[in-house]
Structures are given as structure tokens and as C-alpha cells.
Amino acid sequence: MSEERMRILQMLAEGKLGVEDAEKLLQALDGKPREIETAKENRTLDMKGKYLFVQVDPKEGKSSERVSVKVPLALVKAGLNITKLIPTDAQEKIQSSMHDSGIPFNLSDIDPQNYEEIMEALEQMSIDVDTDESTVKVFCR
């Protein structure tokens, strides 16, 4: 039983709350997880049509290639989800080789709570890199 539910029942027992009020509060508590779940489902649906774009456009007069890569955000999320399934011994090897390559990134730092934050940050992300040769844009749409 959750702490909130216990507190409501305790207040009802102490007479601080009426039966109707307690019932309303309990119903509101029951509705909470459903609301969160619905919000999560909506987010998944929102993500379905979203893509991560990487575009490299040459500057005027430059003859370099124009590159456009479009990756579904669902693929990014699936990739993130797969990181937690990598066995620990393999994770350690990946980590050490990443460290050797100068990427101090800890795979175990990505926990399910961070996924939503990462996805949200990705959706709002926009990176523009301007060089003499070309312009690189990374964004979500």
C-alpha cells in the first residue's frame, strides 16, 4: 500500500476526513498512474513520426557533397534501450575501449529514468556548425 493511501486511511480513521472526501482522494490516487501511462503512450505515439536529421550542406561555390541522414527517433530509443541489455562484462570492455578512444562515457549512467529526459532533450536539440567549406545541421522534426 502506498504512503499516500495509508495517510488518507489514517486521516479517515482519525476523523479528520469524511468518507466521501476519502473516497474522492483514493479515486484521484487510482487515476494518477493511469494518467502517467496515457501520457507515456501519447509520447510514444508522438515519437513515431519524428526523425533526427543530420544535414551537411556545402557553402556556395564549394564543390563538396550534400549529405542528408534521416534517422527515426524510435531507432535512437531502441538503441538506448538495448544498452541496458548488454551484459556487464561486455559493458566493461566497451567502456574501457571508449575510454581509450577519449570518450569518457559511462553506459551504466543511462538508466530508464534518464531515457525520457534524453529523448525530450533530443527533440528540442538543434546544432548548427558553420565552417568555411560547409554547414552542418543536426535537429529533430
Binding site: R66, S68, V69, K70, P72, K77, I82, P87, D89
Partner: protein
């Protein structure tokens, strides 16, 4: 659902062609690998020393189709003044 078609389009000054490649053919090529892999995995699961390690990799193998199905919609396009190449997974 797994990706079913791979669209490839190539164009240069003298050629212009594009085709849809059925991914089923690639999956068919993987059938022997899957069969051999299943046998090897079963043996590893039966050996007590390797069973725990093999079980941890099993989850990863089962998650691979999810990664494949999430790749639907991926598109790579490279263009220059004279050449153009497009790869799209559908």
C-alpha cells in the same frame, strides 16, 4: 514489423537507376546463421560454466528485431553536382 524493402537510387551523368530490394532475401540469407547460432547457444546453455554468460547475451539477441523494426524510415542521401545516391529503409 521488420523492414521489408530497401530503396536504392543512384544517378550520375550517364546512368540513372533505382530499385527496391526485398529485405526478405537478406533475412533468408541469415537463416543458416540463425540455425547454427541456436545450436551453439543451446550447447553453451547446457554447459554450467558458460550458461550464466550465455543467458545474459540471449536477452540482447531477442532485442535485435526491435532495433531492426525501429530502423524503418531511415534515409541516407548523398548528392553532388553530378552524382546522387539515396538509400531508404521502408
Amino acid at each position: 514489423m521488420l523492414p521489408m524493402l530497401l530503396r536504392v537510387k543512384v544517378r550520375d551523368e550517364s546512368h540513372n537507376f533505382g530499385f527496391y530490394f526485398p529485405m526478405v532475401l537478406i533475412y533468408l540469407l541469415f537463416i543458416p546463421v540463425i540455425i547454427i547460432g541456436t545450436i551453439v547457444f543451446t550447447i553453451l546453455l547446457l554447459i554450467p560454466d558458460t550458461a550464466r554468460q550465455a543467458r545474459s547475451y540471449l536477452q540482447l539477441v531477442f532485442a535485435l528485431p526491435t532495433l531492426l523494426s525501429a530502423s524503418i524510415g531511415t534515409e541516407i542521401a548523398i548528392q553532388s553536382d553530378t552524382q546522387e545516391m539515396l538509400i531508404r529503409i521502408t
